[in-house]
């Protein structure tokens, strides 16, 4: 075994035994004035720290899954709120004032017959077809909409949308919404997010696919959920010979505020 002192001596003998060439002073001077190449080793500590941080986060998630998800959710929500606030400040966005009391009645939904509904709307109603076999028609409700004019700073009543509601087996329900197809509106969200309150004051969000199609000047919207599947919605659209409106096919030109 090489003892420490012996190893030092042999190492020195070995290194000193290597013949060094003459000093290439001109080459060194050239390199002194050449641009300095990026030393990739400098990045290694940062990569190492990043890796350690990712590992620590992964361990935290594995050990405290519930707390981690709550923390992540809080970070996302806070980040979104902060980004939204910045965007509003940059665009000088101000929320519209609440609608006047005089329009309260206009905000209420009303059950109507098909004939009465046709009288209230500006588009030609194409009733849903191709419904699931267990669907039972419940009724049509008007869905009032108010429009805020930013230049005039006034609220006004506009033609309502219509909600077709159906009941199904297993106490399930679903609805289809029909409204005037305004080519100035869009884009439409590909998904609808349902917010559920969970135990412990937490909020859960579930994603649901949204389908929009056009029949003449009527635009119909349906969202898949427990009451109706995406396949059943597509069957309705097909039976109505509806023309699909892609979620990103249009850009918003006018802003509509739909009230519940």
């Amino acid at each position: 075994m090489y003892a420490d002192a012996r190893l030092s001596a042999v190492m020195e003998s070995m290194v000193r035994g290597i013949d060094a060439p003459a000093v290439p002073i001109a080459g060194i001077r050239d390199r002194m004035t050449a641009p300095v190449a990026f030393n990739s080793r400098r990045r290694i500590p940062f990569a190492r720290y990043a890796l350690a941080a990712v590992a620590a986060i992964a361990i935290f998630f594995a050990v405290f899954p519930k707390a981690s998800l709550a923390l992540f959710e809080q970070i996302v929500v806070n980040s979104y709120a902060a980004a939204d606030a910045v965007a509003r400040r940059l665009t000088n966005w101000t929320p519209p004032p609440p609608p006047p009391k005089s329009l309260d009645a206009a905000q209420r939904s009303q059950p109507v017959s098909l004939a009465a509904a046709q009288a209230k709307v500006k588009f030609t109603i194409v009733p849903p077809a191709g419904l699931p076999s267990d669907a039972v028609f419940v009724g049509i409700d008007t869905m009032p909409a108010l429009v805020y004019d930013k230049t005039k700073r006034t609220w006004s009543k506009t033609a309502p949308a219509l909600q077709f509601t159906y009941r199904r087996s297993g106490s399930r329900t679903f609805s289809l919404m029909a409204e005037n197809d305004d080519p100035r509106t869009g884009p439409f969200g590909k998904y609808a997010w349902f917010v559920d309150e969970l135990p412990g004051g937490k909020v859960g969000m579930t994603k649901h696919a949204r389908f929009i199609w056009r029949n003449g000047d009527q635009m119909m919207t349906a969202v898949e959920d427990d009451g109706i599947t995406a396949a059943e919605i597509l069957a309705i659209r097909a039976a109505m010979h509806g023309q699909d409106i892609a979620h990103n096919a249009r850009e918003t030109i006018v802003k509509r505020y739909r009230l519940p």
Partner: protein, 181 residues
Amino acid sequence: MALSIDPALVAAARSDDLSLEGLIEAVWPEAFRVAASILRDRALAEDVAQEACAAMARSLDALKDARTFAPWFYRIVSNYAISTARRRRPTIPIDAANQCATHFDSSDAIDLYDALAALPVDQRAALVLHYYAGLNSFDIAAILGVAAATVRFRIMLARRALAKALSQPNANSDEVLSHVR
């Protein structure tokens, strides 16, 4: 420490071109030998030594204490050598002329030179810097960008591998660790 440079020369090299040239001539053999020990390739070692000398000359003003020149310079050389070794793909030398010209004065040195070839570059560098340059594990840790304990562990592994390569199976790693501080 193997490299012994007069601090006055270092101080003078900061402002005087001739002194800088003298400093380069003084450190050049050391730069080449250390690079060659780590890289085991003459052409690469020359390239690394030139680059290290140029880097030393460029950043000499950043050296606060001229008395710490030697570890500082070893750091530059070994950094360049290790990064070059890591970039280089492992190859089997086919040109004997490309091997380092040597005139070892003992068979032990020849054996050690051959045995070092089997070590990973980090272990080889740690061995050279510790046993030849005389740097402690903390200095080497700063060069390699790892913890001092890691350096000691690598030296232990390197010594164990050397012992095996040199057909000395009685390696005592505890003894090694006690020596590397």
